[in-house]
């Protein structure tokens, strides 16, 4: 029995090492750092709540970056869910070459985000980008500057995100959920005289709500952590237009060497995300329907 336990722990060891060494340990360390002034090269110096006070009172990019991040999440998550759901419904039809279509829609999600960001900076280049060439071609003489415009920079990143994520795992989850809906329910609705819209509204959507909820939770968490695309494509500019909260943390930690303050920013945001998730969890009781539960 003891030997069996040993084997068990040995098998668990990689995960345990990863969890304690790479997740829990650094997380707790960063919690401690958030109460210190820490520039990495010298030992951390405790400063109490000073970092948290600075966040609310003196950091000019704190609220601004938070606002930009929520704007990004507020637009990209609903559009992303709608897009993924639409694609999943289309790919759930019985048409010839379905496997090819599914693959094609899934491919963008396999493109590394850095490569995707570089690709889109070319596509949306104000001067020679394909999109602006097209817009000029159809008579729009002064198309948007996209990444170079303060007004259009975030919408450009949202567009890029949609291209990459709409056909990805979120769509697969919807597709799986769609295929998990028993045909008997559609048959019953049909017999009762429900038209296609009514079948969608009263059968498909309610039974998809667990998948929608799951995607919503992950989508919001992911969108609030937006970083790489802005880091690569715009560097936070132009004029702070894409200086998201995640980028702000990175800048403070690795560019400005305010590791203690960056830790405080990160922990505050972790609390915000956890709170939002709990609220969604609570609200889900009102609209998520678990078939057979």
């Amino acid at each position: 029995m003891k030997r069996q336990n040993l084997y068990g722990y040995l098998c668990l060891a990689p995960w345990l090492i990863g969890f304690f060494g790479l997740f829990l340990g650094p997380s707790l360390a960063s919690l401690y750092f958030s109460f210190t002034e820490y520039a990495v090269i010298t030992p951390p110096r405790p400063v109490g709540l000073a970092n948290y006070v600075k966040m609310f009172t003196r950091d000019r990019q704190f609220w601004a970056s938070m606002r930009r991040t929520f704007y990004y999440a507020g637009v990209s998550v609903p559009l992303g869910i709608l897009g993924s759901l639409s694609i999943a419904i289309l790919l759930n039809q019985k048409v010839r070459g379905l496997g090819v279509y599914r693959t094609l829609f899934f491919v963008p999600s396999l493109v590394p985000i850095v490569a995707s960001a570089v690709l889109w900076t070319w596509l949306l280049n104000a001067d020679f980008g394909v999109l602006n060439q097209f817009l000029r071609g159809i008579g729009i003489s002064d198309p948007p500057g996209w990444f170079s415009s303060r007004k259009w920079a975030i919408p450009s990143l949202i567009l890029m995100n949609l291209w990459q994520s709409a056909g990805g795992t979120r769509m697969i989850i919807f597709l799986a959920a769609l295929q998990g809906i028993p045909n008997s329910l559609y048959d019953a609705a049909f017999v009762d005289g429900a038209n296609p819209w009514q079948r969608t509204r009263h059968v498909t959507l309610p039974l998809l709500t667990p998948a929608i909820f799951f995607n919503l939770i992950l989508g919001i968490i992911g969108a609030l952590q937006v970083f790489t695309a802005a880091f690569v494509a715009t560097g936070g500019g132009p004029g702070f237009a894409t200086w998201f909260y995640g980028l702000h943390i990175y800048k403070e930690a690795f560019d400005y060497w305010n590791m203690g303050y960056a830790s405080a920013l990160a922990w505050f945001f972790a609390v915000v995300i956890i709170t939002l998730t709990l609220i969604q969890q609570r609200l889900s009781e009102r609209w998520v329907f678990y078939y057979g539960a």
């Binding site: 990495v40 104000a126 001067d127 002064d142 170079s148 132009p238 200086w243 560019d255």
Partner: protein, 480 residues
């Protein structure tokens, strides 16, 4: 800093130059001499072929203090500079030849960016694993911090043992930045004069019937440049006469071109609300960017490709970029529609040329077991051959030594265009609190907002905003 590439043939040729020159260096006197030495002529003739013939005429300040000293041990060199070019290996092998009892271990830092490599070095320091010879550059704002954090060592003890005139090998200012609170902490590595001109496509001017002054002339007024910008602008942004970058260096030099300063000498105050020259510079930019809207919006054009594509006639950068663009013209064989030129900014009332001398350093780690050997290696990196190779195939730009400039001019006369700013330029000013990255980010981001015509910001409102935001950074405490 700009990265350059070089053919394998050239690389091998220049490695030969390094080896031969180092051998000769061992025979050199210990005093500074301004002579035309046979050795130099020989080295140059043997290794750099015909184009270098002119060099034999060149008066060169020879490297001094190169007599091999008795040192032994093993040192580690951590750097991200020159990696993959063969320069680092050449420096090590020639050093080890001079000092048979020494070995140098080269540990290349391969971060994605310079800043990432500094991060690595800080982490290595924290882990007690930082090498003996390292670099925390003043113009990247890490130098003072590394000193304050006891990472790099003062070198006066070793420098004082060098012969008189030792420091005359380098341009004065590139040595000045190696000092902090009266103590020497390094020797020069890279260095240049900053964005000291308008990189210009002369072809556009010729087509417009505009005669440009000589590339070394300082007779062009800022008003004249603005006038040309208007003249060459085509309605609807089909073609731009001028593109302005709002990076820290570019903005600082524009303020200097109007006889002003952006930052006070102590690095504690942003001067744009009180310095008339700086305000004039901002007004000059604002009028073209916001009022007349004849400049591309930030990010709308990549300036160098736009210049190549014939969509832009000039933009604010340095002589270095003029040379690089000239090379692009030759590579792409577009001489029929492009000619590299530079428009230097006008001489200031104080007689100096608007520029921003910036530079790097080679340092010795405080914890090294071999301080003397590390110092000798730093000298080896910064000597004539080291700096010449650093330029020619080391992937870096270094105009820190007059003798190297002589050789570069002999190789390619376009380097003459650089000399004015190096000899009579104005050093960079840095924030006293070492908040360099916050400072440069704040400048580029807030000025972009002010100069964005879509924002529609009034001039005074924009200026107040920029001043307030930059000053807020300057008022931060120094990171501990």
């Amino acid at each position: 800093m700009e990265q350059k590439s070089m053919s394998r043939r050239k690389l091998l040729k220049l490695m030969g130059l390094g080896a031969a020159a180092t051998t000769l260096a061992a025979c050199q006197p210990e005093v500074v001499e301004k002579v035309v030495t046979k050795e130099v002529e020989k080295v140059v003739k043997e290794t750099v072929e015909v184009e270098i013939e002119k060099e034999v005429e060149t008066e060169v300040t020879r490297v001094v203090g190169e007599e091999p000293v008795e040192i032994s041990g093993e040192i580690i060199w951590d750097t991200f500079r020159g990696v993959g070019t063969g320069w680092n290996e050449e420096r090590i092998s020639t050093f080890e030849e001079q000092h048979p009892d020494m070995t140098v271990e080269f540990r290349p830092l391969a971060g994605a960016s310079q800043q990432e490599n500094y991060a690595k070095m800080y982490a290595m320091q924290a882990a007690g694993d930082l090498g003996d010879v390292i670099a925390f550059d003043p113009s990247h704002y890490h130098f003072w911090r590394a000193i304050e954090s006891d990472i790099i060592a003062p070198l006066d003890e070793f420098a004082s043992a060098e012969p008189d005139g030792f420091f005359d090998q380098w341009y004065e200012w590139f040595i000045e930045i190696q000092y902090y609170q009266g103590e020497l902490y390094g020797l020069p590595s890279w260095g240049w004069s900053g964005p000291d001109c308008m990189v210009t496509n002369k072809y556009d001017f010729d087509q417009a019937g505009i005669e440009l002054p000589e590339p070394t002339s300082h007779d062009t007024s800022m008003d004249q440049i603005a006038e040309w910008a208007h003249e060459l602008y085509e309605e609807g942004g089909e073609h731009f006469g001028l593109g302005l970058g709002y990076g820290e260096g570019q903005i600082v030099v524009l303020c200097r071109a109007f006889n002003g300063f952006f930052l006070n000498e102590e690095g504690t105050e942003c001067l744009i609300l009180e310095d008339e020259g700086a305000q004039e510079a901002f007004r000059w930019i604002y009028d073209m960017a916001v009022e007349d809207q004849i400049l591309p919006r930030p990010g709308e054009l990549d300036f160098e490709p736009a210049l190549t594509a014939g969509k832009l006639s000039m933009y604010n950068q340095g002589s270095l970029h003029v040379r690089n663009w000239r090379d692009i013209i030759e590579d792409q064989e577009i001489e029929d529609r492009a000619e590299a030129w530079q428009i230097l900014y006008p001489e200031r009332e104080d007689g100096r040329y608007p520029s921003q001398l910036r530079g790097g350093t080679w340092n010795v780690h405080q914890g090294t077991e071999y301080p003397q050997a590390s110092w000798e290696f730093v000298k080896h990196l910064s000597n004539t051959e080291g700096i010449l190779g650093f330029n020619l195939y080391g992937g870096n730009y270094s105009t820190v030594r007059p003798d190297v400039m002589d050789i570069l001019v002999a190789r390619d006369p376009i380097h003459e265009w650089f000399l004015d700013s190096l000899e009579n330029g104005i050093p960079a000013r840095a924030p006293a609190n070492s908040r360099g990255r916050e400072y440069t980010d704040a400048i580029s981001q807030w000025i972009t907002i002010m100069m964005d015509p879509e924002e529609g910001m009034e001039f005074e409102e924009g200026l107040d905003m920029v001043q307030e935001e930059i000053q807020a950074v300057l008022d931060m405490p120094m990171p501990s």
